[in-house]
């Protein structure tokens, strides 16, 4: 399909465009952030469940991959996947009780989850080396690797959102009662969305470890969680292309204005206020970018 080809071309450009080391690093970070943001987009944008703790799944992915590769000498790819699956497991345990209830229980639980995981990582010194951080991770996240995983997941996600499962998530977002009447088990639908989104964040965290070579619990704090959700709202709830654009834009802004990065929360706050005032539906609203071009309106 046309969309897949365009994504592959973007991927080739991102991977092969001759760039200096600094710019290359920004592209890698962009891809890593986009993977996590796509995960949150599936949950928040397409299933309507707010989260304030998805950095926790990134942390789980990062530490799982790091410990497996460094301490147990397991090869890179299975370790990254294991990071994704660790995130799935924890998401499943958290989702089981909280997603059964209607309302924003998951959002509240996710806040606690994020802090709990960070505290465990900080205090389980013998296993994680605590707040000193975990060094010596093999630099496996090259530009080509990060771009490949990002584009691969982007293609899968766009297609999956138009599949049966994608429609299931959107139905439970738009009207839970009507979705039940269509024969959905809405608790299961929400669980699926949560588990998938956790997987993306786990992979993203594992990639981040392989890029930085060093991870520490404070990289996955509430600020990171807020950033993930902010980016999805900024791009437009229910628009995957909006999420990707939003995430890429914010990564660029943050990297090129590193000097002011201690004000990042201030910047997010400002951006969100501007969006709420001038474009409450987000950058792209709930439409994909090609729908806007064709003039299809809400």
């Amino acid at each position: 399909m046309k969309r897949n080809i365009i994504l592959i071309l973007i991927g080739l450009a991102l991977a092969l465009w001759p760039l200096g080391g600094y710019q290359e690093g920004i592209i890698i970070l962009m891809c890593i952030n986009c993977v996590a943001a796509m995960g949150v987009s599936i949950l928040t944008g397409f299933t309507g469940i707010f989260t304030l703790g998805h950095a926790a799944y990134m942390a789980l992915g990062a530490y799982t991959a790091a410990i497996l590769t460094v301490r147990y000498g397991i090869s890179v790819f299975p370790s990254i996947l294991a990071g994704g699956f660790m995130a799935i497991l924890v998401a499943w345990l958290i989702g089981l009780p909280t997603l059964k209830l209607t309302g924003d229980y998951y959002a509240i639980a996710s806040l606690g989850l994020c802090e709990a995981i960070r505290l465990i990582l900080e205090n389980w010194q013998s296993f994680t080396r605590g707040s000193r951080g975990f060094p010596g991770i093999e630099p496996y996240t090259t530009r080509g690797f990060a771009v490949t995983i990002f584009i691969f997941l982007a293609i899968i996600t766009f297609n999956f959102l138009e599949s049966r499962l994608g429609r299931e998530l959107k139905a439970s977002r738009d009207d839970g009662v009507a979705a039940s009447l269509m024969g959905f088990d809405t608790h299961k639908s929400k669980m699926k969305a949560l588990v998938i989104s956790a997987f993306y964040c786990g992979i993203s965290g594992a990639l981040l470890g392989g890029y930085m070579g060093f991870i520490q619990p404070s990289m996955f704090d509430m600020m990171k969680s807020t950033e993930l959700t902010a980016v999805v709202v900024f791009g437009g709830l229910g628009s995957l292309s909006g999420t990707i654009l939003g995430s890429a834009a914010i990564t660029l802004i943050m990297e090129y204005f590193r000097d002011i990065s201690q004000y990042r929360m201030l910047i997010y706050g400002l951006l969100l206020v501007i969006i709420m005032v001038f474009r409450p539906e987000g950058l792209l609203g709930s439409r994909e970018i090609w729908d806007l071009k064709m003039g299809v309106k809400k």
């Binding site: 299931e168 009207d175 009662v177 039940s180 024969g183």
Partner: protein
Amino acid sequence: MEKILLEAQDITVNYGAIKALSGFSLKLMEHEIVSVIGANGAGKSTFMNALMGMVRITGGKFFLEGSPLSSKNYKIVRSGLSLVPEGRRIFTPLTVEENLRIGAFSRKNRNEIRDDYDWIFSLFPILKERLKQYAGTLSGGEQQMLAIGRALMAKPKILLLDEPSLGLAPIIIQNIFKELKRINEQGVSILLVEQNAKQALLLSHRAYVLQTGRLLKEGFSRDLLEDSDIKAAYLGQSS
């Protein structure tokens, strides 16, 4: 002999201290159209929601073709009941096509699903023209047609409708009720609850009159249309 398709026995539903239904019983035969009429607040929606497993019943039992009905809504849908809810509740941010496809969620056979699209387009041709349009941009009547089409995509044995005439112009109501008759003639049994007693009685074979959660009267619709009490209380002003 005609077969009993659906049976409700002594259904009781309480919302806290409010008794919404007190021992209401009903039967629906195969190929039949049955309506439940009653004023606002009589308990009609409560009955439909209880039947679909969306509201917990405090007493009574439902039977589908002689076996107890599940209390889980997704199992109820799979066993052949499909409700067009009050206020339609279509997925407004999604397209007409997506709405119809979501309706077919509980089914597997792709060829059959394709045939059912054609069937629904033959009932409501406007939906075919609006296929790629966002459902929220449809007119009220079109939205009701979409809600009915979506419910039919589940290929139900029984189509349940909660006030399909709500908020629609008389001419559109007649149009929709005409199609309901056709749907029934093609083998789908229909259970309809309505405040619009006249339209419901004109369409249905039999009817139950519900008043504050209790059965007031039941009988053949054509008899109820002539019943002086019913005429005075329910047919007075309605079109």
